[in-house]
């Protein structure tokens, strides 16, 4: 089974801070930094503690996304419902729509991690036909 059955709510940490302060944050061991915007960072998984050189930084647990991992073999299927072209090199982070639903995608050697707003995850599951093939 290369396709996930469903999207699961993701645990992460969200940091909104001065761009310079976000630039200095190191990737945690085994974790990921997703730069959503110059002043907006998503850290996966949530780190024990994080230092941000901005006294006004907003550092919050993030429960607004659901995520699923798709193997490389699934990429063509995802690309066929995407109006933008996936990046060739990886790792690469991209944001856009899949099947009409806003997503964030982290491309890696083995495949892609798709993040979707949890409030819309059920639509993307349905539109990508997740779970159907397991039945």
């Amino acid at each position: 089974m290369s396709a996930p059955e469903r999207f699961e709510r993701l645990e992460a940490t969200r940091i909104v801070a001065a761009p310079g302060a976000l630039d200095e944050i190191d990737s945690p061991d085994g974790g990921r930094l997703l730069r959503l915007a110059p002043d907006d960072l998503l850290v996966l998984p949530p780190p024990e503690r994080v230092e941000v050189a901005d006294p006004y930084a907003i550092i919050e647990p993030e429960a607004g996304f659901s995520a699923a991992w798709f193997d490389r073999s699934e990429l063509a299927r995802l690309q066929a419902v995407s109006g933008w072209e996936f990046p060739v090199r990886c790792p690469e982070f991209a944001q856009g729509h899949l099947a009409g639903v806003p997503v964030k995608m982290l491309f890696d050697e083995g495949g892609v991690l798709v993040l979707v707003p949890a409030v819309l995850a059920h639509h993307l599951e349905e539109r990508l036909g997740l779970g159907e093939r397991a039945e």
Binding site: V16, D40, Y56, L120, H122
Partner: protein, 729 residues
């Protein structure tokens, strides 16, 4: 075999329906067949889809084909939904560098050159079942293939669609048995027996036929062409040639609909015959010019003589070129006609998609309804029997199908409501206070940590577009709330102004990340104390962070319902745990959730407005009766100039609270004063607790004031101060 109107027709590998039917000796179509998808003559109905071209349809076993009705149009299909869904039509989006439309000589060359340049090339060829539907800005090329629909995004589009042969315009041109030169060549090569063939103009190659000399004058015959008549322009003498099939080689023009559609789009070009010139046909004198709209040469002259002297006006007055072939047959002739009126050959009219007629089902493929958002508690609501309704882009519980139980739980016990949809935003930064002072029309700086304040959001015109709370978390940090429906716009609003003013603030939307449950009713404190929140509950308009049932919450004490209410903001991942704990622990308190329907009743009794329901797009705070939420002694805030200006004008309408005895008037019910229109009801409800109907309504000024007896639906209405319920709070 294919079934053609009950006749079994054999076919060979590679046959189109046209080829198979003609080879079988049937010739059910009048007019000059082109066999290339341009003319409107070989239309058939296939599997319930009309306007399909037989020359573009591969013959497959068991295919049921019905001819297009002769005279009149096909009937609309029946209203029974087909058994299959949208997914029945395949769909994909394709990304490449170059799209080449048409795979004739110039198209193949263009594709090969692009490949040599290292481009990823997608080619389309209608004959191979890959038909271009249209070229759109992007550039985007839409195609229909045997797998379904494809939207192709590229950097370059090369249109190489070749040429289209000119059709004959003369008496008899709608008889059966007429072919264009290329159609004759192709059909003869496929083994169609053309019988005695006579050609006019350039003769076909590889077809056994007799060339007629002179210029084509007319075709003669009963239903089927029997004679071709030509004239020698030198002598004026007519010659008649008997035939079974007439073949016309009258020249050609560019097949340039797609090229014209693509014209002006960056990255688009056309090559080969598609970019070539029209062999200008003679001015039509007699016969059908536009077969789709049955327009004759006489019709053209008639509208011309009555003043329709532009190509577009001729098209619009005769409807030439607006039928199934979109002018492929008639346009060269109509252009020639206009030019004969002393004008230059006018350009063809605007090329509009689509060039390949797709069904609406095909067009719908790959598209989705606007996605409704669901809170983390969606399944909980369904399990409790909720009826869900769309509201502000969300699916929300409208009622749990027992409004009495929902209502009295709030008024006499304890109830919970999923308010996760509220807009929630964190704002932090050295300019946070200054920023919010400019955003909101009320003072922010004096607000102490742990306290909240009701705020209006005004646009530059001084109109209320949203409302919510400002909660101070700390010296430079706030939580803002906005209405469920307005949250998306409000976030853009905040970000735009922060940027426009160069404010040093950070903004984070928490709407999707935080769930929110409102615990309301006289026993709400009791329920929360059972879940560990006993002595730390915040005062009215205060907020405190604490654990409830083991879930970290920001607890805010408010009252939208008219009862003591605690709004529990928490991580959406814990919504279900919190909801279930509240339901379980409150079982003996008869806790029961309420939906939007009862919430509407509760808030109305308390006189709270709903922005977007009770407000109008031009509601100033003064008109809404919310002048108290505006501090004009502040130096600046958004909308201040406009509010200052409009507040000097006479007040023309106000939102007021009204009561009537008996059933509530409908939303929209009209207020009358002395029989004249005086406004309308925005929200209304029967108040269970008050025993009468209460409502909010817009009341218009009369003679500079708001006096006079108000009637609604013939019943007297009383204007009352808000709130209707529990004015002492």
């Amino acid at each position: 075999m294919i079934d053609f109107e009950g006749t079994q027709v054999p076919f060979e590998e590679g046959d189109t329906v046209l080829t198979a039917v003609l080879r079988a000796g049937l010739w059910p179509w009048g007019g000059c067949l082109c066999s290339e998808g341009d003319c409107p003559y070989c239309l058939v109905t296939l599997e319930g889809v009309s306007y399909v071209r037989a020359c573009r349809t591969p013959a497959v076993e068991g295919l049921k084909v019905a001819p297009h009705p002769s005279g009149g149009y096909p009937a609309l299909p029946s209203s029974t939904p087909p058994p299959t869904g949208e997914s029945a039509v395949g769909f994909e989006m394709v990304h490449c560098d170059t799209v080449v439309i048409g795979q004739g000589r110039s198209g193949r060359k263009a594709a090969a050159e692009a490949r040599e340049r290292g481009r990823r090339v997608v080619t389309l060829e209608a004959r191979a079942g890959r038909e271009a539907v249209g070229v759109y800005p992007g550039p985007e090329v839409v195609a229909r293939t045997r797998d379904g629909m494809a939207r192709i995004f590229s950097a370059e589009v090369v249109v190489a669609t070749g040429s289209v042969e000119l059709q004959p315009v003369c008496p008899g041109n709608q008889l059966t048995g007429i072919l264009t030169r290329r159609a004759a060549e192709r059909l003869a090569a496929s083994g169609v027996d053309l019988g005695r063939a006579v050609s006019v103009g350039r003769p076909p190659e590889g077809v056994d036929c007799q060339p007629a000399r002179g210029r084509l004058v007319r075709f003669e015959g009963e239903g089927t062409v029997e004679r071709v008549v030509t004239v020698d322009d030198g002598t004026g003498a007519e010659r008649t040639y008997s035939c079974d099939t007439a073949v016309v080689g009258l020249g050609s023009g560019p097949r340039d609909t797609l090229a014209r559609m693509a014209h002006g789009l960056p990255g688009a070009s056309s090559v080969g015959s598609a970019a070539g010139c029209l062999d200008r046909p003679p001015v039509p004198e007699e016969g059908v010019v536009c077969p789709c709209s049955e327009v004759t040469a006489d019709d053209l002259r008639s509208v011309w003589n009555r003043g329709f002297r532009e190509l577009e006006l001729i098209k619009r007055s005769t409807l030439a070129g607006t039928g199934a072939c979109q002018g492929a047959v008639c346009m060269p002739h109509v252009r020639s006609f206009v030019a004969a009126g002393g004008q230059e050959l006018p350009p063809s009219f605007t090329a509009r998609p689509v060039v390949t007629q797709i069904t609406m089902g095909e067009a719908a493929a790959g598209w989705y309804h606007h996605p409704d958002r669901r809170t983390a508690l969606h399944d909980e609501h369904l399990a409790l029997g909720a009826r869900m309704e769309r509201s502000g882009g969300w699916l929300r519980p409208w009622t749990y199908e027992d409004a009495d139980r929902e209502y009295w739980a709030v008024r006499t016990g304890v109830s919970i409501c999923d308010v996760s949809t509220l807009g929630k935003f964190l704002v932090s930064g050295p300019d946070a206070d200054a920023f919010l002072e400019r955003i909101y029309p009320t003072t922010i700086t004096p607000l102490r940590p742990g306290r909240a304040k009701y705020v209006l959001a005004l646009d530059e015109r001084g109109y209320v577009f949203d409302d919510g709370l400002v909660c101070r978390e700390g010296a430079n940090r706030f939580l803002l709330t906005a209405t469920s429906a307005g949250a998306g716009h409000f976030e853009m609003w905040l970000r735009d102004w922060a940027e426009a003013w160069g404010m040093d603030v950070r903004i984070l939307d928490r709407t999707g990340s935080w769930g929110a449950i409102n615990v309301t009713g006289p026993l709400s404190g009791e329920l929360l104390s059972r879940l560990g929140a006993a002595d730390r509950l915040p005062p009215f308009m205060g907020h405190t962070d604490m654990e409830v049932a083991g879930v970290a919450c920001r607890v805010m004490r408010l009252s939208f319902t008219g009862e003591i209410s605690y709004e529990l903001h928490h991580q959406a991942s814990r919504s279900r745990d919190l909801w279930r704990a509240l339901m379980d622990s409150g079982a003996d308190l008869y806790v029961w959730p309420h939906g939007l329907e009862v919430l509407e009743e509760l808030r109305l009794e308390k006189g709270h407005i709903l922005v977007g329901v009770d407000s109008l797009p031009d509601s100033t705070p003064r008109r809404l009766g919310h002048g108290w939420a505006v501090r004009m002694d502040k130096a600046d805030f958004l909308g201040r100039l406009a509010v200052a200006r409009t507040s000097r004008m006479e007040l023309d309408k106000v939102l007021v609270g009204l009561e009537v005895d008996g059933d509530p008037p409908l939303q929209g019910a009209i207020l009358r004063v002395k029989g004249d229109y005086a406004g309308f009801v925005t929200s209304s409800t029967w108040s269970r607790v008050l025993g009468r109907s209460v409502m909010l309504a817009w009341l218009q000024a009369r003679d500079g004031g708001f006096g006079g007896d108000i009637m609604i639906d013939g019943r007297p209405a009383r204007r009352v101060a808000l709130p209707f319920y529990d004015p002492e709070g």
